[in-house]
Symmetry: C2
Subunit: 337 residues, 2 copies
């Protein structure tokens, strides 16, 4: 019986979208219990009835706004919905947190309340990308803007567990994002990380370039959170720009409109697929518990999908698998150097 704590107050359309998503998830997954955390008087109007099976409302008086400084929010709001949701996991009352709120605050609070897994210096956000072949996971998507080589090594191990357990890859191929395929290419961070990865037990295939991300040749793409975030947003923006460029063409050629409509559909579809947080939430890997970060723009369907991801993580025991992989990393055979 998976138990998921959901932040009712997080996201641009909270609490309505969150409450509706929670109701959808409860209907879709009959084994699920949800602890919905927030201000009861704001939640109740969207519940439709007084009592819902397998749903508990947990009161939290404070709300962290979307643009609040994460550390400030953590200190100043001990009774925020984000904080209370993590407390539920800490106390064993829930196994996962789902929040579409201020993602910096979710990361900081998760780290503070749950703590890191042994062997993890920095938890990282994993995000699923569509490719020409199968989906791949990119890690870190934005939790850590300044990284050391051993952080990237840990991201690689965590990404490989994700690819195995959630994307069902056996022996996932791991690539390091750089600016040339040879091991000697890249910045200082990447060159040093390449050495660590080369002597690790992972199925490391070497450097990949930006153009390889969507080719689907690797299952796990490792990079720091600054580069990862730039890549994600660039991809979104490029899909939009291409749409605009194509629309520009179609105005001139009426005969082609059906095809263009389909092409646009393909682009929109890609854009939606790229934003994994809208589809199923992006997990924060490396903390003692399951944490799924939803997109700020999450609608009810996105919330439902993020809850589904949390349920998958609980059932696949991803945190246990992460611990196993990280202990391998810590052991002498994990990294030869």
């Amino acid at each position: 019986m998976p138990r998921v704590a959901v932040d009712a107050m997080g996201g641009d359309f909270a609490p309505q979208a969150v409450v509706e998503g929670v109701l959808e998830a409860l209907e879709a997954f009959s084994d699920l219990t949800i602890l919905l955390v927030g201000q009861p008087e704001k939640i109740h109007p969207y519940l439709k009835r007084r009592r819902v099976k397998r749903l508990e409302i947990i009161e939290a008086s404070q709300v962290v706004s979307m643009d609040e400084a994460p550390i400030g929010a953590l200190r100043a709001k001990p009774d925020s919905s984000i904080r209370r949701a993590f407390d539920l996991v800490k106390n064993g009352e829930a196994e996962a947190v789902v929040s579409a709120g201020n993602s910096g605050a979710v990361v900081a609070t998760g780290l503070f309340v749950l703590g890191r897994l042994s062997g993890v210096s920095r938890p990282a956000i994993a995000t699923v990308l569509p490719t020409v072949k199968e989906n791949a996971v990119l890690i870190d998507a934005g939790a850590n803007v300044d990284c050391k080589p051993h952080h990237l090594l840990q991201f690689a191990f965590m990404g490989a567990v994700f690819a195995k357990e959630i994307l069902s890859r056996t022996n996932p191929k791991v690539g390091l994002l750089s600016i040339g395929e040879e091991g000697g290419k890249g910045n200082t961070l990447v060159k040093r990380t390449h050495k660590l990865l080369s002597s690790s037990t992972l199925n490391y295939v070497g450097n990949i370039e930006g153009r390889d991300i969507y080719r689907g040749e690797v299952d796990v793409i490792v990079c720091d959170g600054f580069v990862g975030n730039v890549c994600l947003k660039l991809s979104e923006g490029l899909a939009e720009a291409l749409m605009a460029m194509m629309l520009d063409e179609v105005r001139r050629k009426r005969s082609a409109q059906l095809g263009f409509a389909l092409a646009r559909k393909a682009l929109m579809n890609f854009k939606r697929r790229i934003d994994w947080r809208e589809r199923g939430g992006a997990p924060l890997l490396g903390v003692e518990g399951v944490v799924i970060i939803g997109h700020g723009r999450s609608d009810a369907r996105a919330i439902r999908n993020a809850i589904r991801t949390a349920r998958d993580f609980i059932q696949q025991e991803v945190v246990v698998r992460l611990k196993e992989a990280l202990s391998e990393l810590a052991s002498p055979s994990g990294v030869a150097s």
Copy 2:
């Protein structure tokens, strides 16, 4: 009378593509003189006749291969075509170098032979990107993988000169690539650079995100060479991947094929536009002379276009304009802090 030194031996299709491109350029621009540098016995077969007006062949006995280590090549091959081409600029016999050869070797040799402009710590590669509105310039596209804030500040000044002189923008808007629009967002490098740019005399509009690159809201996009190169290659790869995804759709819907053909044309067109090195070469800014780096895959047309860019740079006196802008940077009013 612009005089351009062209590396005959550089590029995947050298010397044939280079010689053909040179002949095209000489025909297109009647004010141009070209010094073609390389192994005469390899060049002559493609010249068709013994003497060509405004063309001189300059002998260089050595060739730097495309995958040779740049510094090693600089040391071991004092008579390479790249080295000889730069010597011609150094000695005042030519005003510009065009090479589609090993770009690391071109950067290293250019720096060594010509030296840096006063006020420039690191020359950078500028590249022109298509956007939904007008073209923009991204700097650095890959010359410097590890940067300091003052390097990025210099890139910004050089990019602004490029936008003014070559893209004809008055008071070009400069944006700093980061992962959030607020000045406090980004990695350490970007946060510090933001402060420098904020107190500079540039028309600095603040941080931009990956998704803004193709929106055309800024004329100059500043980033380190690692991030810049990842962005460029990601964009190329994404355009390819989207094409593959769309082709996948069209197989199912025959009625849409015309539209798809046009959509594919738009994507191919974008892909070609994105690779500025194929279109007109990417200038290396910050050295004492004009240096245009062509793409390794350059065909005759690409070589011709790179020569045209070199000619534009000479006629617009871009190096003089760069010196003026950089002296402004060095003066107390350039940066307030």
